[in-house]
Subunit: 229 residues, 2 copies
DNA sequence: TAGATTGTTAATCGATTAACAATC
DNA sequence: TAGATTGTTAATCGATTAACAATC
């Protein structure tokens, strides 16, 4: 039997494409707010910082949502991407670690506007447990690790964010997995080990700076050489 | 003339490798603190969350720093990676936008330990300008946008971090470029446009959550189907 | 010498790109 | 119909992987 080439097999959207869909979605939302109704791949690509060929290729994995000779309907395409990403319904998020970073994340308005709702705050430190924290216009109070299961259940959370110090992260991660979490975003600078079926994504603030520093170093090494030549 | 295959041409390290070097470096630092002196590619790869083949391939771009039959000297390899990344000397960083996220970044200890020193804080808001903020054991005060050039010069900064709201980011970015910055880390959810020769990297907290949500959606769609079959 | 582990090779895989036929 | 722009094709490029000869 040859490889399946039917439409359903196409559901496997390349990782590189998935990583760009949120960017397209945000730019489309912004265009929609500005009252723009139609956009060409050329215009949209420019605003998203990609080439139009890449954009069209990416969108082709979702379906044929454009009109030749015209472009894309902003509202329609925005909805189709949101549907593909699964953010037409808000996702409940539990945040573990209510320190500086945790509080910054709580007050970050970009979450709510992109389909996420923080439904619980957890911290291991007795001084922090019980503290009132404003999430949007609601007041939440910080719960203890022991309350994790209940917080997850009550808030119907399916995504967790770890914003603890590095040395606590693996322990917290284990508890989250026990409590049934299968999607974890990790801000602690450690590689977490999780069982099959659980996905961890890592955001490392220092790594990004290090990559910048590397390229900066290369620029300052090679540019003067060119000038000497 | 054929393509150059000498050692100097090898200086072009693949982007994918560069992005992993900081991870290797951090894990090596941790091993060093634990008193581990030698490590095999198999062990190191496990701790870094990659395969040993990928690790060895990555390291091969830097040079031959291992010993066949033995492994890698932790301290030596750590130093070689640090040198390659350009973090044997600390880099001066200017932070623009001292709101919730900005303050969280200031108090993030991972920067100092990975070769970065915040040498200046800038904010556009008059209420914030002049405020005292502790960076490590020094007290800095927040300066106005107008002082940018001076802050950059005094601190010898070559990397800037934008932690402002989205609508201010492009304006701030333009000012940074004017002031001579060529490396910018952007936390604002907008695509910044910069002239040739300036590099912007973007960290988007919501994008990572959206990718998690997408995969989570796929898991909850496909797993039940398997169970029904 | 025998066992272990690197550094490199070559095959495979996935992502990007440019060009253009299809079609509004 | 003529002009514009999509969706797709095929070529190219870069990254990953597995296997193993080199060598400690």
């Amino acid at each position: 039997m040859p490889l399946p080439t039917d439409r359903l097999a196409t559901r496997g959207i390349p990782d590189a494409t998935v990583a760009r869909l949120p960017v397209y979605h945000r730019v489309l939302s912004a265009l929609q707010e500005d009252g723009v109704t139609t956009v060409s791949s050329e215009e949209l690509a420019l605003a998203c910082g990609v080439t139009s060929a890449k954009l069209r290729k990416d969108l082709s994995h979702l379906g044929s949502y454009g009109t030749r000779g015209v472009g894309y309907d902003v509202e329609f395409l925005s909805y189709q991407i949101a549907r593909e990403l699964g953010i037409t319904q808000p996702w409940g998020v539990v945040l573990v670690g209510v320190g500086n970073l945790g509080r910054a994340l709580v007050s970050y308005r970009g979450f709510a506007s992109r389909g996420f709702r923080i439904v619980g705050l957890i911290d291991a430190h007795p001084d922090v447990v019980g503290a009132q924290v404003a999430i949007g216009d609601e007041n939440h109070h910080v719960r203890a690790m022991a309350d994790l299961r209940e917080v997850v259940r009550m808030g119907n959370a399916s995504i967790a964010v770890i914003a603890t110090p590095a040395d606590a992260a693996q322990e917290v991660c284990d508890r989250l997995v026990e409590a049934g979490m299968t999607s974890i975003l990790n801000f602690a600078p450690v590689v977490l080990s999780v069982p099959e079926g659980v996905e961890v994504r890592k955001v490392d603030l220092a790594v990004e700076l290090q990559i910048l520093a590397f390229h900066e170093q290369r620029r300052s090494e090679t540019l003067p050489e060119v000038m000497n030549a």
